[in-house]
């Protein structure tokens, strides 16, 4: 069995990121696209934590903490936008949302 080192974590992170990327492209529901974005953010967090661990510094951990903060703010505002959009258009399908006006 190969011992687990940094590239293993990076490959897992990249796989999670591509899952999120594929989800953004494949799905048409704005909510599920948003969830896929969360997957991609988490993949970046995993890569940062792994780099921190194998470089012997904690700066990556602080960065991940800030990313989680930004992600929470982004989810709050993004979901408020989706709710406002749904109340106006009665749909969360991104194919039907073609104009910039609400």
């Amino acid at each position: 069995m190969i011992p687990v080192v940094l590239p293993h974590y990076l490959v897992v992170s990249a796989a999670l990121f591509s899952l999120g990327l594929a989800g953004v492209i494949i799905r048409r529901n704005a909510l599920v696209i948003f969830m896929s974005l969360e997957l991609m953010l988490n993949a970046a967090n995993l890569a940062l934590a792994a780099f921190s661990r194998y470089n012997g510094s904690l700066h990556g951990h602080v960065l991940v903490f800030f990313i989680i903060t930004v992600a929470a703010a982004e989810v709050a505002v993004g979901l408020a936008i989706i709710v406002a959009l749904f109340r106006r258009r009665k749909s969360v399908n991104v194919d039907e949302l073609t104009s910039m006006r609400l």
């Binding site: 590239p7 990076l10 897992v12 990327l21 909510l31 995993l46 661990r53 904690l58 951990h61 992600a71």
Partner: protein, 161 residues
């Protein structure tokens, strides 16, 4: 023990991530996302990012996913289940994701292999760094949260009347 747990956590996390993007029902997607977040917290523990593991559970699995489920309850679910995936977008998504994986493999191939260095990301260690070196970003984070509060209230202004 570390290695077995790594394989278990990462395979389980990737499987639930796959189910997030493949579930027809958004509620199932949200639930699988919670599971993926919990396994991610397990990976953080393996990376000795103890503080991050707790924050991951507390913020992501606890608060963010609750909001997602709230919004799903709020929206109309029934129209969603009947929708089918289109072949073209499905193939496009797979191709882009695969191309990304190939590029990452190129990067990882030449990477020097170093052993893990024993720094533990305890709450104290992370907090010490956060409140000395990263004091300004910390204050900026409060501004960001303020902007988010104002934005949320403005966006749902019509419902408040």
């Amino acid at each position: 023990m570390h290695d077995q747990l790594f394989w278990f956590f990462s395979i389980a996390m990737l499987l639930s991530g796959l189910l997030v993007i493949l579930s027809r029902n958004p509620v199932n997607s949200a639930m699988f996302l919670v599971v993926a977040m919990c396994f991610m917290a397990g990976l953080f523990v393996l990376l000795e990012a103890h503080f991050l593991a707790i924050i991951q559970i507390l913020v992501y699995a606890g608060a963010v996913m609750v909001l997602f489920l709230f919004v799903i309850m709020f929206l109309d679910l029934k129209a969603e289940r009947r929708r089918r995936f289109r072949i073209l977008t499905f193939g496009g998504g797979i191709i882009v994701a695969a191309a990304f994986m190939v590029k990452v493999h190129d990067v990882v191939e030449d990477m020097p292999l170093v052993a893990a260095k024993g720094v533990a990301g305890t709450t104290e260690a992370v907090g010490r760094l956060l409140f000395t070196r990263y004091l300004l970003p910390f204050e900026v984070a409060s501004l960001l949260l303020l902007v988010a509060v104002v934005g949320v209230v403005l966006l749902s202004k019509r419902d408040l009347k």
